[in-house]
């Protein structure tokens, strides 16, 4: 097992180097840079930025250097000092921009993940066991609806209903008085009061797909001989279901969780923008739009690292869940 882990990690290294180069190139290749973008945004406000000022800014930010040199400076900073570079737009080191938002992002993502699992796994099992009953049809119908409706649309609709129907304040994860307040018990309560709406919106599509995965896999397992054998031995129906076929049915679900970290960090970007949530997703989008390149490249690099880590983790989890995989991999 240790050998297996080590080998997987070594494989990841060249992938990470390639990813770092590609993510930097992706940001640098399009024509224009942060300065041209700033100048265009200023122009949209009526403020035409003199060319001399642009050139001066470009020199100051080091954007006049050749791209390979810029890349080298950036990547050596990360490797040697853990310094991800400077966000031009926020005028702060990249890590100082991303980390403060990470906490809320993780809370929101974990909350919606738990929501998905808590709702979807029982419903999936139910609709597999009680196939073609009214309950199954209702779950299936709602599931497809959840899959089909885009999240941002759901967010807009939910916000409008919250506003028009209940007069609730929309946008953000906190009431105005708690937005920039230090953490306190009241602030946590306030957060919980706002968290449920984005949690449900983010969770619906996920819920639907998990229901479908569990249902389909479980149906395959339910009629296998080992189930009949266990039943013949007089094992209770619920314990039997949980111990054997459900465990099998979870396999594809677990291996599908390799992008769980990416979802946690950047999931629901569009929903977060629509609902005005202070999470990391909108940061990434803004960084890309304004060509705030160290910020964007660092973000993409972090996401890629998380994909690699997530894949590793889901492999290990699968090996733990299913002995067959353990033996095959040696």
């Amino acid at each position: 097992m240790g050998h297996f882990m080590l080998r997987r990690m070594l494989y990841a290294l060249p992938a990470l180097i390639a990813v770092s180069i590609i993510s930097f190139l992706v940001i640098s290749i399009p024509p224009g840079d942060f300065i041209t973008r700033t100048a265009e945004l200023r122009a949209a406000q009526g403020d035409i930025m003199p060319l001399a000022e642009q050139e001066a800014m470009r020199r100051a930010y080091g954007l006049d250097q050749p791209i390979p040199l810029q890349y080298w400076n950036w990547i050596t900073g990360i490797v040697t000092r853990g310094d991800f570079g400077y966000s031009f737009a926020f005028n702060l080191p990249v890590k100082d921009v991303i980390w403060p938002r990470m906490g809320l992002t993780i809370v929101l993502s974990l909350a919606s993940l738990l929501f998905i699992w808590a709702v979807a796994i029982p419903i999936g099992i139910y609709s597999a066991v009680r196939r073609y009953t009214v309950g199954d049809y209702v779950a299936t119908f709602l599931g497809f609806l959840g899959l089909a409706v885009p999240n941002f649309l759901l967010a807009l609709a939910a916000m409008y209903i919250a506003f028009a129907g209940f007069g609730l304040s929309v946008g953000g994860l906190f009431s105005p008085e708690y937005v920039e307040a230090p953490w306190s018990w009241e602030r946590v309560v306030d957060l919980l009061g706002h968290l449920w709406l984005p949690m449900i919106v983010l969770g619906t599509a996920g819920t639907a797909s998990v229901i479908r995965i569990i249902r389909a896999n479980l149906i395959d397992e339910l009629h296998k001989p080992y189930v009949t054998a266990a039943r013949a031995k007089g094992k209770g129906e619920f314990a039997l279901l949980m111990k054997y076929p459900v465990r099998h049915a979870l396999n594809p679900f677990v291996s599908g969780q390799n992008d769980i970290f990416v979802d946690i960090v950047s999931g629901g970007t569009i929903v977060a923008i629509v609902m005005g949530l202070q999470t990391t997703g909108p940061l990434l989008l803004d960084a890309l739009r304004t060509q705030d390149m160290y910020m964007a490249a660092s973000f993409i690099l972090m996401l890629s690292v998380l994909v690699v880590l997530g894949t590793l983790l889901s492999d290990l989890l699968l090996a733990w869940l299913d002995p067959r995989i353990r033996y095959q991999q040696g």
């Binding site: 406000q45 035409i48 060319l51 050139e55 080191p93 506003f163 105005p176």
Partner: protein, 664 residues
């Protein structure tokens, strides 16, 4: 307010009549002889209860000591207000123009109606006969928000250590401070008198100072800023830069100190200010920001109460305009921001007035056109350069635009057909320029087009080389979405006259690159700063030469002009001078000369400028912008009956936000 003070009035005539108001720039000269402000308000000054409590506790000097000897008395729009409350704005996260409702307290300012320049931080000024020297009189006893005196030294510090310091302003002073390229000398006469002297007459200095960039003059408290100056405090700056992990001084300065236009200017709550409210915390990356009353603010109401009335200015982040719109119609923000207060959203705003507890205040726009099309007169393809450089082609295009249909369907019936020209009501309005070729007439359009791009055998027009002629127009689909609708209608009528045109709609991110491409055929942008006196400080835009910025490729003419002014000047990469036609050459000359003239001479040259523009017809417009408004919460009082939107008049900031109050 100045009764009893020896006062001398000198009147400087600087323009023609505008909209019934005589354009006069009054100069109150001679500093006041008063020793304190007790005579002005024998009953003493009033102040906010919070400040009174601090005075009582001994934490703050009495209000009379905090105010200058001659505070500026501001006449509120409706009446005397009361202290308290919050004014809540929505913002996108730290850009200057989100602060267009905040941060306007320059040395001299636009009057609320935008017609004249008035005293503000300077209580008066004197202009020499030949308009080369401007002397400003500051307010004795005026203080920064930390209680330190504001004097002529602060202005000299800004000029020497900021504007002319190549280590922070690597490109030199901003153009607004220059006159035909020449720098002024800035001299401290005494603590409360400062003189700007130019070599040539400067006819536009007051207007430039009253615009947003004029704010730079009074935002650098010498006693506080010296610590950030690498020459005055080398070790300290090195330490701060090392702590921030910065290597370049100019970048660090821009990001941590900053001037007007930099997001950092409000990011440091420690930085003393002259504005009405001061920050409590850094703002970048924050979701909700609160600014509180400046206890040293230099303005009072006619009842001797210190302004501002409102306790707190709050900005609440909304990254998405739809969220901003929802917040506004829910009544969560005190005044709707410009980006959602569009004619297209008017119905939504109107319907929710009662529920959101707000009303709509009409706003006129200083924009002189909803959409201006500039064609690449210096296109690298000589055929295209010839066609786009032809007035007949442009006149043909213009006649083939059904402006009334666009106004009726896209602009909801608001506005009138208009070319890029000073607005009616501006002293520089020129009807011939404003209305030429605005009539929708396909036959006339064909007649003009036939002269340069004759109709080919299969219904497509041919270029001067006899080959089918096609062109494309670049449009920013995000900036002003109405432009998209308008140009879809225009595309249809242009095709009817046999033009092979493609309209490219770009996202905001990509438009900049599309516009700046040398072989872009033409691009569309809004026309800004066309009301009142603003055309004077905006001549370049009417010629589609904003400096380096233009719609379509204009770089040849722009380069010619740069070389005309300074044969040794270095040209931006890829620019080659192209000699413009005689009329355009004269326009460029006028652009240089007009700012150095005053009075009748200036007015006459402006007349020549607009006449030449009419003769050349350089750019094509659609309509005057109309139908603007802002939602204002019913609890907010002293908002004028109508507002002005603009940039060089940075509306609505000049409406005296310090006099607004919240009814309890």
């Amino acid at each position: 307010m100045l009764e009893g003070n020896p006062m001398q009035n000198r009147v400087y005539h600087l323009g023609r009549r505008m909209a019934g108001t005589t354009l006069l720039l009054a100069a109150t000269a001679l500093p006041s002889m008063a020793q304190d402000n007790a005579a002005m308000c024998p009953g003493g000054f009033g102040q906010a209860p919070q400040l009174q409590a601090m005075v009582d506790a001994g934490n703050l000097p009495p209000v009379a000591d905090r105010l200058p000897v001659e505070p500026l008395v501001v006449q509120p729009a409706d009446g005397i207000g009361s202290y308290g409350g919050q004014f809540i704005d929505s913002w996108g996260g730290g850009n200057v123009a989100d602060f267009r409702q905040f941060g306007y307290d320059p040395l001299v300012r636009w009057s609320v109606d935008g017609s004249t320049v008035e005293p503000n931080i300077a209580k008066g000024w004197e202009i020499s006969e030949d308009a080369t020297s401007y002397t400003f009189f500051l307010r004795e006893g005026m203080k920064w928000s930390d209680g330190q005196p504001f004097t002529a030294d602060d202005i000299v510090f800004w000029w020497e250590r900021v504007e002319n310091n190549p280590k922070v302003m690597t490109g030199g002073p901003r153009g607004e401070m220059l006159n035909n390229g020449g720098k002024p000398t800035v001299t401290k006469v005494d603590d409360y008198t400062v003189t700007f002297t130019y070599e040539q007459p400067n006819g536009l200095f007051l207007q430039n100072l009253a615009g947003p960039y004029g704010q730079r003059v009074v935002m650098f408290p010498k006693h506080y800023m010296e610590q950030f100056d690498i020459d005055l405090n080398p070790e300290g700056v090195a330490e701060m830069m090392a702590e921030a992990g910065a290597t370049d001084y100019a970048a660090w300065w821009k990001g941590n100190v900053g001037s007007y236009g930099d997001a950092s200017q409000f990011n440091n709550p420690e930085r003393p200010t002259l504005l009405g409210w001061i920050g409590q915390d850094s703002i970048l990356g924050k979701e909700r920001v609160t600014f509180v009353r400046n206890p040293y603010y230099f303005k009072v109401d006619p009842d001797c109460q210190q302004l501002p009335y409102i306790d707190e200015r709050v900005w609440t982040l909304a990254a998405d305009p739809e969220v901003t719109l929802l917040q506004a119609v829910q009544g969560q923000i005190s005044m709707s921001p410009r980006n959602v207060s569009t004619p297209q959203n008017r119905a939504v705003f109107f319907d929710n007035q009662e529920a959101g507890n707000y009303h709509l205040v009409p706003a006129t726009s200083c924009d002189y056109n909803t959409a201006v099309l500039g064609l690449s007169v210096n296109h690298p393809d000589p055929i295209k350069a010839e066609v786009f450089g032809s007035k007949d082609f442009r006149a043909g295009l213009s006649h083939a635009i059904n402006r009334q249909e666009i106004i009726d369907t896209v602009y909801l019936g608001q506005g009138e057909p208009f070319q890029p020209a000073p607005l009616p009501g501006s002293p520089f309005y020129n009807e011939a320029l404003a209305k030429e070729f605005t009539e929708f007439d396909l036959a006339k359009a064909a007649e003009y087009l036939d002269k340069i791009v004759p109709m080919g055998p299969d219904g497509v027009r041919l270029g001067p080389d006899g080959k089918p002629f096609s062109f494309a127009i670049d449009i920013n689909a995000d900036f002003r979405p109405d432009t998209v609708d308008a140009y879809q209608l225009i595309e249809r009528t242009w095709k009817q006259v046999g033009l092979d045109v493609t309209i490219n709609f770009h996202s905001d991110e990509l438009f900049g690159n599309a516009r700046a491409r040398p072989d872009s055929d033409g691009a569309v942008w809004v026309g800004e700063n066309g009301c009142g006196q603003l055309p004077l400080v905006n001549l370049g835009r009417f010629m589609n030469d904003y400096g380096y910025w233009s719609l379509g490729n204009w770089s040849g003419w722009a380069a010619w002009d740069i070389k005309r002014l300074n044969p040794d000047a270095e040209l931006p990469e890829g620019w080659t001078p192209v000699e413009p036609p005689a009329n355009v050459q004269r326009l460029y000359e006028l652009r240089s000369i007009i700012p150095t003239t005053v009075g009748e001479e200036q007015a006459a040259l402006m007349g020549e400028f607009t006449d030449l523009l009419a003769e050349e017809f350089l750019t094509i417009g659609i309509a005057t912008p109309a139908g603007f408004y802002r939602s204002v919460k019913n609890e907010v009082h002293n908002v004028p009956e109508s507002l002005i939107e603009g940039w060089l008049y940075p509306g609505p900031a000049p409406i005296n936000f310090e006099t607004l109050y919240i009814a309890q």
